[in-house]
Amino acid sequence: MVDYFFLVLSVMTVGAAIIALESRELVYGAISLVVSLLGIAGLFILLDATFLAMLQILVFVGAVSVLIIFVVMLVRREKWVSVPSGYGRVAGLLVSILLIAGVGYLAMNSGIATMFPSSNSVPSYVDIGIKVLSDYWFPLQILGLVLASAVIGALTLAKFEGAEQ
């Protein structure tokens, strides 16, 4: 049963991602991006990580993709068809192969051999919270600083835009 779900979700995720890249109509591309992100949330649920799945929906479907669709809908009259040069295409291919190989290598060596949990105790959201606030407090601070600097940068750009007009 789980295998079938996994198959359906994988096809949904990868297929929708391909449509998102290849679709001529930008809005359809954006919507299929949402479908792809939902597929990833489903994969999280299969891994017993319901909390992460819900955060995935909350952040990526509820916020990020809405902003993407918003931007895409505002510019729908124009056609953005850019043909990359041969050099750029080869470079893109190389970078993506390297990326996939690196992530695959890390995943193979991380000790995750099966999608079934080794023990019966699935870490709950309480454990995640305790870990984030005790062991991983430093990355949390860094993340906060990065987000704050991004917000300040966006505000600065918006202010400059207004000043020129």
């Binding site: 909390f51 819900m54 909350l58 479907v61 509820g62 916020a63 809405v66 669709i69 918003f70 809908m73």
Partner: protein, 386 residues
């Protein structure tokens, strides 16, 4: 021209004759034909007995796994969809009568003998028989998908809201997070509806709804953090249990106020009904929807109103807690009645605010208030009051 009552009378008469004549013609056919196809005679007999005897019918349904204790019944009927839809129609009637009384009108009066009590059913029939129009330039798949998606989000929202310790559909350790995750689909649906209609009123309404929903989602989530901190759980059952001695509206008054205001904005009700501003945008993002499409969107909206009111009751008003002279469900519905009346009274007494006031209220006042509320919760929890 006949009245709605005469129409109902005719429908009931036709149904009566069908029910009377149907068995006389259909039963012998079933008895003769079914054994020919290898159906055991006992099953056919049980079905036929069940048709005549209501109690036997109940047992037959139970034996199919569709009885009152089954998951299907819960989802489809009692705490789930049918109940919420009926409740929503009652709320529509109550809203129209209450607003009429507040504005010195009579409101619906003619359908049904008493005070227009059948008006929602009359309107349901009207909507069902109306033609479904699709604009020529609309994006048809998305245009047709939106009402179904809206109903689906409303139904999924309902599934996670318990009504009493026994009456619930699904319970989860992280129920509150799942509810917010489901609600975060709303801006996507609204924006798609506005875009797919290929109408400028719809699109402007969709953009306004997007601004409103995205900026009010943040205070909505932040205002519940205080409750989660005080009860130490994201499970709605445990949150209600934690309020046995004191309702969270007392230590969390600011949080409750912020939640109530953002709730009005999420439901797109006056004073935050800019997305559907009827005097300037026709009907906002659902301008192009007609017939039962419109009905489905309205139903989804009122189901969400019901869900949000129950959620407010569970989070801040102690849910089904109360003296044991009444059953838990009665306490819940009394509180629910008060919350819904409050929402409707606000609709009757306020005007629509401007979009800049809306955005300013959200980002400048509600979010800092929600943060202040979190610190109050921290102080209350560390002093050990709750």
């Amino acid at each position: 021209m006949d009245t709605f009552e005469e129409f109902l009378k005719r429908v009931i008469t036709i149904a009566f004759w069908l029910l009377l004549l149907g068995p006389v013609i259909v039963l012998p056919i079933i008895l003769l034909v079914l054994p020919q196809f290898g159906v055991p005679v006992e099953v056919a007999n049980r079905f036929l007995i069940a048709l005549i005897n209501p109690l036997g019918m109940l047992q037959f349904i139970d034996s199919l796994g569709l009885g009152p204790s089954s998951l299907f019944f819960k989802i489809a009927a009692f705490p789930g969809f049918t109940f919420a839809a009926l409740f929503a129609t009652l709320v529509i009637l109550y809203e129209r009568k209450l607003l009429a009384k507040m504005q010195n009108r009579v409101g619906p009066l003619y359908a049904g003998r008493f005070e227009g009590i059948l008006q929602p059913i009359a309107e349901l029939f009207k909507l069902i028989f109306k033609e479904l129009l699709t604009p020529e330039k609309a994006d048809k798949p998305f245009f047709w998908a939106v009402p179904f998606l809206a109903i689906a989000v409303g139904g999924a929202f309902l599934a996670l809201i318990p009504l009493s310790p026994e009456i619930y559909i699904a319970k989860s350790e992280i129920g509150l997070v799942i509810i917010f995750a489901i609600l975060s689909f709303t801006p996507l649906i609204v924006l798609t509806a506005g875009w797919a209609s290929a109408n400028k009123f719809s699109f402007i309404g969709g953009l306004r709804a997007l601004h409103q929903l995205v900026s009010y989602e943040i205070p909505l989530i932040l205002s519940t953090i205080g409750v989660v901190m005080l009860s130490g759980s994201l499970d709605l059952m445990k949150i209600v249990q934690a309020q046995a001695s004191m309702w969270f509206i007392l230590p969390q008054f600011i949080g409750a106020a912020v939640f109530f205001v953002t709730m009005l904005a999420e439901l797109e009700r006056i004073p935050f009904d800019l997305p559907e501003a009827d005097s300037e945008l026709v009907a906002g993002w659902y301008t192009e929807y007609s017939g039962m499409h419109f009905g489905a969107l309205q139903l989804a909206n009122y189901i969400k109103l019901y869900g949000f009111s129950v959620l407010f009751t569970l989070l801040f008003l102690g849910g089904w807690n109360g003296p044991a002279i009444l059953p838990p469900l009665a306490w819940l519905f009394m509180k629910l009645f008060i919350v819904i009346s409050f929402i409707l009274v606000i609709r009757g007494t306020n005007t629509r605010i401007r979009i800049d006031q809306l955005i300013k209220l959200g980002w400048v006042y509600l979010i800092p208030l929600a943060f202040a509320n979190i610190f109050i919760a921290l102080a209350v929890a560390s002093l050990g009051i709750v």
